[in-house]
């Protein structure tokens, strides 16, 4: 498999878009190529760790927004 195709397939698998046949092809490739396997694992880890970067909403956030909206004119429905 060409390096470019291998990369494409790895990203397709990361996105969950690889077909059954592509998944099998990639698994075989990863079994025999340590470098490709490491890259695949690192990409999976990047995605997994990204999902963990979260901050909490301040408890008074909605109240602050609503206090700002109260200063505005009420949005009116479009005229028929």
């Amino acid at each position: 498999m060409a390096k470019r195709d291998e990369k494409k397939l790895i990203h397709k698998a990361i996105d969950g878009e690889a077909s059954q046949a592509e998944t099998t092809r990639l698994r075989r490739r990863l079994e025999t190529d340590g470098k490709a396997r490491a890259e695949f694992e690192q990409l999976k880890q990047v995605v997994k760790d990204t999902e963990k970067i979260r901050i909490d909403v301040p408890p008074d956030f909605t109240r602050k927004v609503m206090s700002e909206t109260r200063k505005l004119r009420r949005p009116a429905p479009p005229k028929a």
Partner: protein, 198 residues
């Protein structure tokens, strides 16, 4: 559960509580979008607040063919873009001033490197280093968990373009994080081993 369209209708009829429910529903997503795009908690909160206020102002003009969440994402992303543009203009003029007074040696102004061992900090730094359009695609896809069709609708580019941007962003993230990922897991394993030896 009441859907967004029904809440918008109630809001347009004068029910303020209905808009509060939309804010409750989307505040975490919009604040975290801002945080990932800007890397600053306070700015993220300010921009999220501004996005909700602008959405409220424009609610009567909102075309319900699109999702309310996509529209809200667009408003927040535009605010992020404006903020980053203003920030880079300000940074450029500040840099020019410093260079003028220093005789133009940028090396002398290199920021002090602060060593951070936490992987999450490294992740945030790596996201902030991504070019804007890659960061946008990456954050919407992986932090917000949207599919490429939704990301395409929000960013107004074809889904295949978004896919390529996310792909390149992941590669850049992998390359900038790979040594840290290894170090982090090695340190973590060593710490855990130390604890079990006690």
């Amino acid at each position: 559960m009441v859907d967004d369209s029904a809440l918008i209708t109630k809001c347009l009829e004068g029910n303020a509580e209905a808009y509060g429910r939309l804010v409750d529903k989307y505040s975490a997503r919009i604040i975290n979008l801002g945080y990932a795009m800007l890397g600053d908690r306070h700015q993220a909160e300010d921009i999220a607040q501004d996005a909700f206020v602008r959405a409220f102002k424009g609610l009567a003009r909102f075309e319900r063919k699109a999702k309310f969440s996509s529209w809200l994402y667009q408003i927040a992303l535009n605010l992020c873009k404006d903020y980053l543009k203003a920030k880079s203009r300000h940074a450029k003029s500040a840099d020019d001033e410093q260079l003028a007074t220093m005789g133009g040696n940028p090396q002398e102004q290199a920021p002090r490197v602060v060593l951070q061992t936490e992987l999450s900090q490294k992740m945030r730094e790596a996201i902030n280093k991504l070019p804007y359009l890659y960061r946008e695609a990456f954050v919407l896809r992986h932090l917000q968990g949207l599919d490429y069709r939704d990301v395409a609708a929000i960013t107004n580019v074809p889904a295949d373009t978004v896919r390529v941007r996310a792909y390149r962003a992941r590669e850049m993230m992998r390359q900038s994080l790979a040594p840290n990922v290894d170090t982090f897991w090695r340190e973590k394993a060593a710490k855990e081993k130390g604890r079990s030896d006690d």
